[in-house]
């Protein structure tokens, strides 16, 4: 199906989007869904670094078969509007693991939009998103969880934390839970804060320079998003890409 027109900010999923960036991408980009299906019992992991000097839209549709496990990890450090959308449908006993980091300044909007549908019983999902921004930039996480009426024993969690390095940057978290089953666990949390000044002074008092102190604290902050990424090489690649974006951030 081709959308005739671009969405507007009245569409819930585009509420905090950069509409100008989207317009520069064009309508055609909206049709480009990457469709992935995992067979029953299959395990698949994907780690990616997204973002460039131009706007980017990544749309992923995941169908996770019975007892299968999908893991997705993303560093979103675009130099222009960069949006990653993931639509997930979980079969019985399947698991979806998502770890995402938006990081950057330069007034850019970077966002994750997920819709996780627990369509059948006993599926689990876990989403951990961290946003680190400065210089008027925005980081968004719009996370929708839908639990079907018969999807008992669903266990779904999402956790968002934003770290703003200076006034003027912003972070938006929009958790949306739609639960029709009665025997489920759905946990969600969202906090936004500043760098821990006590920790920064403690580090400096031991000789760590301000830039290194900030890097260590940001590394610790975003680390949660990649805890479940067990491939050491991929873990390092995503972390390094995020920390490279931190160069030049306000101290």
């Amino acid at each position: 199906m081709t959308l005739a027109t671009l969405p507007t900010r009245r569409d819930e999923a585009w509420r905090y989007a950069d509409m100008d960036g989207l317009a520069r991408l064009g309508v055609a980009a909206l049709d480009q869904w990457k469709e992935i299906a995992l067979a029953p019992g299959e395990t698949r992991r994907h780690a990616m670094v997204v973002g460039s000097a131009a706007p980017e839209l990544h749309r992923i549709r995941l169908a996770i078969g019975e007892g299968a496990r999908a893991e997705l990890f993303v560093t979103n450090a675009g130099g222009d509007y960069t949006r990653v959308e993931v639509e997930v449908r979980l079969a019985k006993g399947a698991h979806f693991e998502f770890g995402g980091v938006t990081i950057g300044g330069a007034g850019v909007t970077r966002e994750f939009v997920t819709q996780v549908v627990h369509a059948e019983p006993e599926a689990t999902s876990n989403q951990t998103i961290r946003a680190v921004h400065w210089a008027g930039a925005t980081g968004n996480f719009l996370g929708e969880i839908k639990v079907a009426r018969h999807a008992q024993k669903t266990d779904a969690a999402q956790d968002f934390k934003g770290l703003l390095l200076e006034a003027g940057a912003s972070a938006n978290a929009v958790p949306q839970l739609e639960i029709f089953a009665d025997d489920v666990k759905c946990a969600h949390g969202a906090t936004v804060g500043e760098l821990d000044e006590a920790a920064r002074f403690y580090m400096m008092a031991r000789g760590v320079d301000p830039a290194t102190a900030q890097r260590l604290l940001v590394q610790a902050f975003i680390g949660d998003a990649f805890v479940a990424l067990s491939d050491a090489g991929e873990h390092e690649r995503l972390l390094d890409a995020a920390l490279a974006a931190l160069e030049g951030a306000k101290l």
Partner: protein, 252 residues
């Protein structure tokens, strides 16, 4: 003179709402000296430590501090550390997500870099850390854990001394390092201070409320800080008098 504090005035609360805490404090500490600072609550002991460490939120309004002839107050906190100053925290800070090993290796190598020295390799650093942890009877496994996270009050203070051992400063300002320690830990920490800092080219400013730490770390000098000034300086016997008679009697 290693540390020379002259007529130091400092406020907290920022420029809009300043509260004077230090009101003309003068204190000289030569190399080779362990100098205890005692005084009633609210006298300015922790403020003195924080001003020397360069903690944000403290404003020096008059006076000077020179450290080995250098203007200490002109340096950022990390530059003070690289110059050889160590601030032992009354309440060591927890840093989730950063291990002691990573933190201290970054700190030591940042200091070495600032002094024009080559960085220690991972192996060299671990050997050093192991030696210093052993000195404070701290298990190496604790150093692999996150900085101060889940440590008891006593463990945090011992970890501070391990950090001091690894960083090997020439001057330590220890702010109530004895608070939160049981008798055994007190002896271990006191012995650690002696082992690390008792040297002709080093000095310590030891801020404490109690004689019991001074029984282990025998100070050369004892000064009483009251209402933002040093009101009396003497030998170790002054601490014993304070312990026996209290501040009011001694300062009367």
């Amino acid at each position: 003179m290693m540390l020379e504090i002259t007529n130091l005035h400092a406020t907290v609360g920022g420029p809009d709402n300043p509260t004077p805490i230090l009101k003309g404090l003068t204190l000289h500490v030569p190399a080779g000296e362990i100098h205890a600072i005692m005084g009633p609550n609210g006298a300015g002991k922790s403020t003195l430590a924080n001003v020397l460490g360069g903690k944000p939120g403290y404003d020096v309004t008059a006076g000077s501090v020179t450290f080995n002839g250098q203007d200490l107050l002109a340096l950022d906190p990390h530059e003070r550390a690289a110059a050889g100053l160590f601030l032992g925290f009354q309440y060591p800070v927890e840093i989730p997500g950063v291990s002691n090993v990573q933190f201290l290796r970054e700190a030591l190598n940042a200091q070495r870099k600032a002094r024009g020295e080559a960085p220690l390799s991972g192996g060299e650093f671990l050997k050093l850390a192991k030696d210093k942890a052993a000195l404070l009877q701290m298990d190496m496994d604790m150093l692999k854990r996150q900085v101060n996270v889940g440590f008891s009050g006593g463990e945090k203070k011992r970890a501070e001394m391990v950090q001091m051992g690894i960083l090997n400063p020439s001057f330590a300002v220890l702010d109530e390092t004895d608070s939160g320690l049981d008798i055994d830990a007190l002896r271990i920490v006191g012995a650690g201070i002696n082992a690390i800092m008792r040297a002709p080219d080093k000095a310590v400013l030891l801020i404490t409320h109690y004689q019991r730490l001074l029984d282990v770390v025998k100070p050369d000098k004892v000064s009483v800080l009251a209402d933002g000034r040093i009101v009396e300086t003497g030998g170790p016997e002054l601490a014993l008098r304070l312990e026996a008679e209290g501040y009011d009697a001694v300062m009367a």
